[in-house]
Symmetry: C2
Subunit: 183 residues, 2 copies
């Protein structure tokens, strides 16, 4: 556990527009060995699960360059320097990506996307009674399709693999638990 590890050195090995790669060298006191661990530093993220008054979830679809495919997601993005809180980032991203807003943002939880190799967090919000408040306001390289799915159809979309984005599935799990469902 934590008390067995002493950080010896930390060196940034690579930096680009969105991430930094560090090599952290640790002493593992249990057997006095040393090893380098790779850590990815990047922005904290925010994901928003917008549900309309008539129980439809607002999903988005966009091309994702990591897996080179169109991916079904919920709105979300990085928490930028100008965002004074994760909730402000959530409100901004929801409005920019969908044109929708909500008077009722609820933090469903804060998760760690991959603690083995990433240092960042992801804040997950429920946007209850989401309503149309404007138009999409996308970056020049963004193209995002919206669609509205009755909440009761989401389970089969996850089971069939139509929804397969880890952080999106997390949001639906947190919603189920928030609603009092048992594992």
């Amino acid at each position: 556990m934590k008390d067995k590890w002493t950080l010896l050195t930390s060196h940034v090995k690579f930096t680009d527009r969105i991430l930094k790669i560090r090599h952290d060298k640790y002493l593992f006191k249990k057997n006095n060995s040393e090893k380098d661990y790779t850590v990815i530093d990047t922005y904290d993220w925010v994901n928003i699960l917008p549900v309309t008054e008539d129980n439809r979830v607002i999903l988005i679809k966009q091309y994702r360059h990591g897996t080179r495919e169109d991916v079904i997601e919920i709105p979300g993005g990085v928490i930028e320097g100008k965002d004074i809180s994760p909730e402000v980032a959530a409100r901004r991203e929801l409005l920019e990506e969908t044109g929708y807003s909500s008077r009722d943002f609820i933090n469903l939880g804060t998760i760690i996307p991959n603690p083995a190799i990433q240092s960042n967090k992801c804040y997950i919000y429920l946007a209850k009674n989401a309503f149309k408040a404007g138009n999409q306001s996308l970056d020049p390289q963004e193209e995002i399709d919206l669609f509205f799915v009755p909440k009761k159809e989401i389970a089969s979309m996850i089971l069939s693999g139509k929804i397969k984005h880890s952080l999106v599935i997390d949001a639906f799990c947190l919603l189920m638990l928030y609603d009092g469902k048992e594992i």
Copy 2:
């Protein structure tokens, strides 16, 4: 969507023991602009949710160098070259990390940890009726504590943030849906 993007060039910018960073340059045909996207290539992963005959979940705790803390997880790891299938990797990782096995491995789903910037997949297995089959067999730099938690206590562990690892929460979501629970 996908038909609007043409990959122009792909360059590996950084490589280490566990990952590769690529910069993929795309033409976005909608407005004829070009942009570099960062992609992290790493192993595919496997996570295993072991449940004993008396409905206890086998959780593990280990120090994670990304977030620099002890993290509660389910067993899992990378799919190595020697693994002839994800299920073989799941059986191997469960046995190595816990000393437990199962005659009933069920693929609950295959998810994408982060399609925006990662190319890999994570296969999630339920190991039903997990039983003790041997002892832990850890790498020299691994230290993994096991503990057994009644399944009905997991929800409060997630809601309280004790369990906050994204891929672990995914496994519990898939288990709930596999068991027929509704969102």
